[in-house]
Symmetry: C2
Subunit: 213 residues, 2 copies
Amino acid sequence: MTDFTPTARTRIKRLPKRARYDRDTVHAILDAGFVCHIGYSIDGQPYVTPTAYWREGDAVYWHGSSKSRMLLALEKRPPLCLTVTHFDGLVVARSGFHMSVNYRSAMLFGTPYKVEEPGEKLAKMERFIERVYPGHWPELRPVSKRELKAMSVFGLHIEEAVAKVRTGGPIDENEDYALPIWAGVVPVRQVLGAPVDDGRLAPGAPGAPRITL
Amino acid sequence: MTDFTPTARTRIKRLPKRARYDRDTVHAILDAGFVCHIGYSIDGQPYVTPTAYWREGDAVYWHGSSKSRMLLALEKRPPLCLTVTHFDGLVVARSGFHMSVNYRSAMLFGTPYKVEEPGEKLAKMERFIERVYPGHWPELRPVSKRELKAMSVFGLHIEEAVAKVRTGGPIDENEDYALPIWAGVVPVRQVLGAPVDDGRLAPGAPGAPRITL
């Protein structure tokens, strides 16, 4: 796939080895995540709001209550930064200076837009549910018109994007390798626990849906 | 402990039941985290940068290369928003509309400041290492003056803060409880894997340090 073009907003100057501009990398980081952090300003004050999101092609979407402060602010279509971060491990070095972290992050820039058409909103919502619970949408009680109205869906076409990735062990000073100090990586990962039903299942209810997270 | 006073920036209007302004809750969410997302603007463009942080009293700190674009931008002391989010579980409802997420988040506002005095910088760095690797600082090769210079440490005194917390199962429509659809919570958590050394340990090197994350 083609690359995103580095711009003033996305070109990584420090540690450029960690930067990736190719769509495959950016998309893979987005697809591995569920919660992003959206940055926008109101009267010069930045806000960073966590929210669930999903990707479709070169766009990401999120939704929430029509009355959410963030979503009301985004109706004015301010410039936006959307960041997804995976914390993959602690990198333990032989000196405090070289301690580091393994991670994958994607930073997207663009202008948000509101998905207005009800049929499209419903389709987006289906996509969001199916992304996490594949095959589960048809099993659910259908969304009502009132519910659909109470919800806003926003999208961001990715105008510019950059990924940053660090993997591997510590990079210590040459002379420090002789020191009797432990160094290496402690992996960190996100895991799902066993599903716990809410104690109010109706007779005949099946088991928990399959989850792809 | 006393509460943070809700302000125009921090007062939660929607789902106010989820808002917490007490220091204990805000501090506990900060102390349970390691990576935050810092929001700031350059010429009206918001940026959201993930970074490791730690808390000391009513302040949080983070550090990085003196040449980092974020840290250079913060030297101008722009208004800042720092958000920490813990994704605790998927809340599976009987309808798409009531699907939700359990989480704990803290959103802090304030003006960043640079820690300039070398002794204070070093003390901050020790605190950061000891927060993750308790007892490990004295085992490490000491930080050199050159390294200390190459690093910037920034702090944010928490002027305003709000936490948002959702726990528990789905809240479905009364009539939906009769439907044979699974509903409940799927817990999500972050776990550490077994430490992997870098294959270059010197003779006599001890085991991996203890980690509190």
